[in-house]
Amino acid sequence: MSMKSNRKIWGVLVTAALVTGMLAGCGTNQESAESSTKTVESTEEGTGESTGEAAAEKEAGGEKITLTFGSHQSGLPTSEVVQDLAKKFEEETGVVIDFQISPDAQWRDLIKVKLDSGEAPDIFCADTPINLASSMQMDEYCVPLTDEEWVSRIDENVLPAISIDDDVYGITFPGKKMYFYIYNKEIFEEAGVEVPATYEEFKNVCRKIKDLGYTPVYEATTNGWHQVLPLFETGGLYLSKDTELYNKLNKNEMDFDQVPDLLTIIEQLQECAELGYFGDDYLSNAVENAKEAIASEKAAMFIAEAAWRNEVVADFPDFDAGKLGIFVMPWGDNQVIGVNPASNAYFINKNSKYVEEAKEFFEFLARPENLQARLDGQPGLSEVCWPEIPGRYSEEDSAYIDAHDKATVVQVAVNYVDYQWMDVGKDLESMYAGAMTPEDVLKAFMDRRNEQAVLQKDESWAE
């Protein structure tokens, strides 16, 4: 009997010990987390992952400050020019910038969670535009920068992408993006064709080039995004028929089936694919291999930014980039250059302890010599969005660009387009494979847009 009760008592005691052990474990966890941040703080280049605010270190002479800077991979140029500038900034001011870089695919969700939980870094990079209903609510999380000196020096066309209402919240560097058909002048000459201005001319060019044995257009659908460019970079064409189009779409007063040119372009893409103008393997191709296809002169045309030619030369130094020209995508007889002012921008966390130091870093980045360094450090960039720094467009390109009208692309001005970019890419792939018609592609796009608007409780979609 006594044995039995003994065992019971032991049982209870052991269970109690286990439970207290667990609770105590939770308690000390926090303490140890705090103490671990302290150790991070005391090392000079600590990766203060968990610290919401910057880690500060007392030094003999005074206070040394570390600012945390969170970004996705494509937010910082691969040449690490921003990191180099940060080192110079440290030499000058003693403020250390600690970079924390995450994969592109995860960043949008990760930074949102971090901002919500108050664990965001002092400075962070996020994709722009931030003024769409479907963007992150930067006015809730970030320090307004409207009164900074450098704001007046940024290209005014870019400001809306980093502003909410009339307040500027971020600093941005990449210049506006413009996609063209990059074409091989020698192949065009050999085929005896000129740069096309209408879709019919474009088809004619493709036919003659195909007859010579070249692939007229290098297209690649496996990356998911490239095939979508003709649909939304041609916003100027849509706007030319109705200047209020973007507003009407955002207010849900009309939908994309009332933009007949969009369906026309989808049908034209299908026609070109069927005629073999994208080659045989476009459904298996990757965008990364376009440089090889153009440099080896297997293909005559490819949609890219003008500065993409520098990347071709960087990978294939023997290739003469002078052979490559640019022309506007002539889908739907479009002759307007699509301008995308958005890219990504850096923001200052409202809850940071060191807002002033972060502002100082932005000022440092905005100095003319540092803007120039930024442009020089990124060969794929045509220009920065700071008019005082001359861009890299050649005279020939500049003349071509100046001679054409420009208009904002659809995805930065109309809600619920950009977020489903990859889905539209998949639908186009379905269309090329024969599983969808152009009408299906358009309908699926409109359905997703309406679905997302309802999900986000958009007022214009309220019944």
Binding site: R7, S284, Q420, K426, E429, S430, A433
Partner: protein
């Protein structure tokens, strides 16, 4: 029986607590979320009843095609893997085969590789112009057979299924070999004395005695097939278009769109489906055991 030897129930407390905290409660929560409008864009979570389930089974033909693809993939891979695994196992337990263990190792080795690696390797091997498969076919004069394996709507599903069977049949083979080895040779000797042919022995001795093993193999294949994700994701990413999308690729897409409730709805459907299927398979197994 000495009652003192039985430990009191609360000794399981710790394990039950951890199990429910880490496994059971999150599972139930996941199912509960499928009855809400939980998403990335608002902090409110409202109860919406069966709305998500209704939209899966009605208007959205896309979801139904994902469910259909999942079933097709499961049925095809289960049959092919079991048949192929069984045949190879039978072959590699015959006396006239030399270096049995070497052959077994070679056939089993794809199982050890990561799905992502297999998917990416096959994607480049099946590329229409630069891939190994088509270049090989062309070099031996079979140009006609050099096709667009992963982009032709008619071929893409068979291609994916073939790669998956290639990867998975080794494992099934190993399980079946273990079953074959455990069959007493006395049965075969008796059959030999009666003058039974190989086919008669296989039909009347091997297959009946392997039944429990084969049922286990089928359960393994079915649960794998219904939950397939990485193979499809790395090989075709559900493409071309959505031609090879399955339930789990759809779940992934819904989560990345921020429609978290729809993601949990689709995975709950999968959960209930597997549960129901397993119940029937296990019931039929119990039944068999009672008969014997």
């Amino acid at each position: 029986m000495d009652r003192n030897k039985i430990y009191p129930w609360y000794f399981t407390g710790g394990a039950v607590f951890i199990y429910s905290l880490l496994c059971f409660i999150p599972g139930v929560l996941g199912i509960l979320y499928s009855f809400t409008d939980w998403n990335n864009f608002s902090r409110e979570i409202n109860f919406v009843g069966l709305k998500n389930y209704i939209s899966v089974f009605s208007g959205h033909s896309e979801y139904m095609s994902f469910i259909g693809n999942t079933l097709l993939f499961t049925i095809a891979t289960t049959i092919l893997k079991t048949v192929a695994g069984f045949c190879i196992a039978l072959l590699l337990t015959q006396k006239f085969i030399k270096f049995k263990n070497f052959h077994r190792m070679v056939i089993f080795s794809p199982q050890v590789m990561s799905y992502l690696v297999v998917g990416l390797v096959f994607r480049s091997m099946l590329h229409p112009t630069t891939g190994f498969v088509n270049n090989f076919l062309k070099s031996i004069g079979l140009e006609r057979l050099a096709l667009n394996w992963l982009t032709d709507l008619k071929l893409v599903f068979p291609s994916v299924i073939t790669v998956d069977v290639w990867k998975g049949m080794g494992y099934i083979m190993v399980v079946i070999i273990a079953g074959l080895v455990s069959i007493s040779s006395a049965y075969y000797e008796a059959a030999d004395i009666d003058g039974a042919s190989f086919w008669q022995k296989t039909k009347s001795i091997t297959i009946p005695l392997l039944k429990p093993v084969i049922i286990n193999v089928i359960i393994l294949n079915v649960t794998y097939g219904l939950r397939v994700f990485d193979m499809i994701y790395s090989l075709t990413n559900g493409g071309p278009g959505n031609a090879t999308g399955v339930i789990n690729t759809a779940v992934y897409k819904e989560f990345s769109k921020g429609n978290l409730a729809m993601g949990t709805t689709l995975s709950s459907i999968l959960f209930f489906f597997i549960l129901a299927l397993l119940y029937f398979i296990l019931r039929s197994m119990d039944h068999k055991e009672m008969e014997t």
